[in-house]
């Protein structure tokens, strides 16, 4: 019996012929990163180990993205800790505000995570990079410190669940809708401890941005990693960016999956996750009409150029409803510049949106768009837990960028067709 994509990558990095689900292995890690929240704890633990250097200064990234640009003195101190650690250990990939973006989007964009590699990040959405055909998983700060010290980490080899997307996605159905659909189907612990492998001809109809949206949210079903086989589109996207040589890995044809589920994407509708779980998913029509105070387009889930293009298509020549505010945050400086050159930023400003500097701020209720009591937000982010974006009595609906933009125009939760028809 052959191995799944996840098993093959892990076996290669553990230096063994084969691994089986449940095996505990010690694997080589190709690249790792921390942000300004998880970094300070990781630095403290790394110092306790007492080594004079990280395992490889070229294979560690520190990205100030959560509370950066700093919102207060405490967060400034955390960002300072990061800057000082980067300087002390001569970390190659430290990016100061202005050159830093949302870590997951930026590291992939810069060709620092590659097909066939093992990548760990002290951030749960590290599973995003699985869209490139990498084994990519989120860990805590202590695990990250261990990786910075040794370039290795222990893993339990996960069972693989395979999700096959058939057909051509129906109008307005994006990668975000596909993954929300799956989480709604299997629940927030439906893939606990497992690898979620996504496949099927529908993926070929998606942009790279949409593929990243899918693997990004594997953690919301409890998965260890989300992953896709790197097809020609992925390899074309990676090739001009790659900072290192890489070797794509593909699953064996007789690989064994713990379960296989198939979805006909031609029959799907755009969906939203209603408060307060990414697992409570309904067609947009079921929630349409809910008055909305804020819409937010951005984050490691949906802050890419493709997402901004979709939003601009709906917002062009229209204005945000008077009772609603719209935040648009390009995920990286490169995306910001691209959006400016394509005229998207002008569309957002003309519509009455605020366009922010790259940051994770609003997604976690950190800064730049914190919700007051009773307020409702439609967000393109990945989590809508109680108090996630602010007051514990605020409520968050998760959607793709088209629904968020349409909702901003209508001032109430709306299907894109309501605006464009």
């Amino acid at each position: 019996m052959g191995m799944t994509l996840t098993e093959k990558i892990l076996a290669a990095h553990a230096g063994v012929e084969r691994v089986r689900p449940g095996d505990l292995i010690d694997a080589r890690v190709d690249f790792c990163f921390a942000n300004d929240i998880t970094g300070p704890l990781a630095f403290r633990e790394f110092e306790r180990i007492g080594l004079p250097a990280v395992f490889d200064r070229e294979r560690v990234a520190l990205v100030p993205d959560h509370y950066a640009p700093s919102k207060d003195i405490a967060s400034a101190e955390q960002c300072k800790t990061m800057r000082e650690f980067a300087h002390k250990y001569d970390i190659a990939h430290y990016y100061e505000v202005g050159r830093a973006g949302v870590g997951h989007v930026m590291l992939a964009e810069m060709g620092l995570v590659l097909p066939g590699e093992v990548f760990v990040g002290a951030d749960s959405h590290t599973c995003t990079h699985g869209a490139l055909g990498a084994f990519s998983t989120g860990v805590g700060s202590s695990d990250l410190a261990a990786v910075m010290a040794t370039g290795r980490l222990w893993f339990r080899v996960p069972e693989t669940l395979r999700f096959v997307f058939r057909g051509r996605p129906a109008p307005w159905v994006t990668g975000k809708d596909l993954v929300l659909h799956v989480i709604g189907d299997i629940g927030v612990d439906g893939a606990r401890y497992c690898a979620m492998e996504f496949a099927g001809e529908a993926l070929g109809h998606l942009t790279m941005g949409e593929r990243f949206s899918i693997t990004n949210m594997a953690i919301e079903a409890g998965a260890k990693n989300g992953i896709m086989e790197p097809d020609a589109a992925v390899l074309d996207w990676v090739a001009p960016r790659a900072r290192r040589p890489f070797a794509p890995v593909f699953a064996d044809s007789d690989a064994e999956y713990a379960a296989v589920r198939e979805y006909d994407t031609s029959q799907m509708e755009p969906v939203v996750a209603v408060p307060s779980s990414p697992g409570i998913v309904v067609p947009v029509g079921f929630a349409a009409g809910v008055p909305v105070d804020q819409c937010f387009i951005g984050t490691c889930t949906n802050g890419r150029i493709e997402d901004l293009r979709v939003a601009a298509r709906i917002l062009a020549g229209r204005v945000v409803h008077p009772r609603t505010r719209l935040l648009v945050i390009p995920a990286t400086p490169a995306i910001y510049r691209q959006a400016m050159e394509e005229g998207l930023i002008r569309v957002f400003l003309d519509a009455g949106a605020v366009v922010g500097a790259p940051t994770c701020g609003p997604c976690l209720g950190g800064h730049m768009g914190v919700l007051a009591s009773g307020e409702v937000c439609v967000s393109t982010s990945s989590r809508n837990f109680v108090g996630r974006m602010g007051h514990r009595d605020s409520r968050v609906y998760l959607s793709g960028p088209a629904v968020a933009a349409a909702t901003a125009v209508m001032g109430r939760l709306a299907h894109p067709d309501e605006v464009l028809s």
Binding site: E45, Y67, A122, G366, F385, G387
Partner: protein, 169 residues
């Protein structure tokens, strides 16, 4: 090790935002994090926890973020040990890494109310609800997790590996 303390019960799918809201992640000080533990779930809970108490949780405890601040906050609030029906993956690793013992038990949650007296034997997995006179058994820990605990968590484990390498060369 045997833990004896008052049970505090929470439900299914308690997430890391409920354990420690992100607005407090501008510090790594355990005492400050402890003060805000479970703030959006039950703002009075942290103040009622006494050192040595036991948290009894439902399914998928700790879902969501990789923030290690979550198990740190629980430990610093005084919780000696968590017994849940199941855990989210990253939280499970993080808790062991910082020395917060976790046990998995299928039936304790239904048989326990907040305020009950519990005793938990971490080594054997035997749990007694002294208030109700019921006995429960937690799943034994995998051998590797026992080694990690014996080593004092991932950092001590790595320290030993690193110093062993130095001796060897």
């Amino acid at each position: 090790m045997i833990f004896c303390g008052t049970a505090w019960k929470v439900g299914d799918h308690v997430d890391t935002d409920a354990i420690i809201p992100a607005r407090h992640l501008v510090t790594t000080d355990p005492e400050v994090l402890a003060r805000y533990c479970f703030e959006d779930l039950d703002p009075t809970l942290a103040a009622r926890i006494r050192p040595g108490d036991i948290l009894v949780a439902g399914e998928n405890f700790g879902q969501g973020s990789s923030r290690e601040h979550a198990p740190i906050a629980i430990k610093a609030a005084g919780i000696a040990c968590v017994v849940a029906r199941s855990y989210a993956r990253i939280f499970y690793r993080n808790a062991f890494n910082i020395g917060l013992p976790l046990l998995e038990c299928p039936d304790l949650h239904a048989a326990t109310e907040s305020g009950d007296r519990l005793s938990v034997d971490n080594a054997t997995g035997r749990i007694v609800n002294e208030t109700r006179g019921t006995t429960h058994t937690a799943a034994p820990l995998p051998e590797f997790m026992r080694q990690l605990i014996a080593a004092g968590g991932i950092i001590e484990y790595v320290r030993r590996q690193v110093s062993g390498r130095k001796v060897g060369t």
